[in-house]
Subunit: 203 residues, 2 copies
């Protein structure tokens, strides 16, 4: 098994945190997206979309999508459990994982991609759209602050894959997207401090 | 168990098709998004985002997200299998499900939401962004046509949740979004005819 990674990108970070939480050792190879290493004919055979992460299995199968890789690793290594132990947990953790992705990560990403100069040569950026996405992300963080008033983690009392997605989203927002951590959200801040203090956060 | 549905919307359609493929009977209640039935205080307790589908379990738990509902039902009713029988299948089907969502469904949805007059009062529409999304969706359909040259269904030789997501996407494109079915894509057309002929497609 080998994980193709790009250290600075958010999607592979999801997988690295997941792998660290599981305590699995997987050989990692860096693929520099900036210098076109994901667009070589060899790499496009692994992932025709030219993205990382990609998990190459020993039989040559390539899982070329971050959540798909987590799903595979969860099935192989069920403990510690990150995606739900029974039907109800699997449904609830998936719901929170999807909410954190659709409502938080994608709005942050929409803002970032439509403002950051890196993406200018690749597609047309719409500043108005970017601003709408930024405001929507902030609104979701305010709602998350209220939701976290009575529980420790995103989906309940234990750390799950939904925490990973939310962490990657807010760190993209305050990192490459250059925004301040929103003030006046004490529960959200406490949650962020807690999950950031886990060794997996720096994986 | 009760499913809150809105007959014309694409996200609940995903769940209805999934339920039909499983052969499960679930009581359904319609929630008219157009007349604000998903914004009542009672409904917002079930889903604070004010969307359908929502699956209300007998203990009152609400799974308020389409893929989360499918995940729950898959765990309760593993046959016929739609999300993978072992770790490798679970990873591969998730990858195709996610690709169909991120690369096809969301680009179609982006085009639709930024052109359809229904959404005008709710957020600023960017026609340039809409057109970029339309072109990206068409490009993904052309790639899908090549991918389907040597297999019957999206993720391989059998029908999976990835077929449901792709079907809902193309039917939104040619339905409410008012676009013609793209010409010159014989494999994609053959696949669409095949999955549309299943009884679940009209669920």
């Amino acid at each position: 098994m080998k994980l193709y990674d790009f250290k600075v990108a958010p999607y592979p970070r999801r997988v690295r945190i997941f792998v660290a939480e599981k305590g699995i050792e997987i050989p990692i190879e860096q693929v520099d997206l900036f210098t076109g290493q994901s667009r070589t004919p060899d790499f496009l055979k692994k992932n025709p979309s030219g993205h990382v992460p990609v998990l190459e299995l020993d039989d040559g199968t390539c899982l070329a999508e971050s959540v798909a890789i987590c799903r595979y690793l969860e099935a192989l290594h069920p403990n510690p459990n990150l995606m739900g132990r029974d039907a109800r947990e699997q449904g609830l953790f998936e719901m929170w994982q999807r909410w954190m992705e659709l409502e938080l990560f994608f709005t942050v990403e929409g803002f970032f991609k439509h403002t950051d100069p890196t993406f200018k040569p690749r597609f047309t950026q719409y500043p108005g759209y970017a601003e709408d996405q930024r405001l929507e992300a902030l609104e979701r963080m305010r709602r998350l602050d209220r939701e976290l008033a009575n529980r420790k983690f995103i989906a309940g009392d234990r750390y799950t894959v939904a925490d990973i997605t939310a962490l990657v989203a807010i760190d993209l927002f305050t990192g490459f997207a250059g925004q301040p951590f929103p003030s006046g959200l004490p529960n959200f801040k406490r949650w962020h401090d807690t999950v950031s203090a886990r060794p997996s956060a720096s994986a």
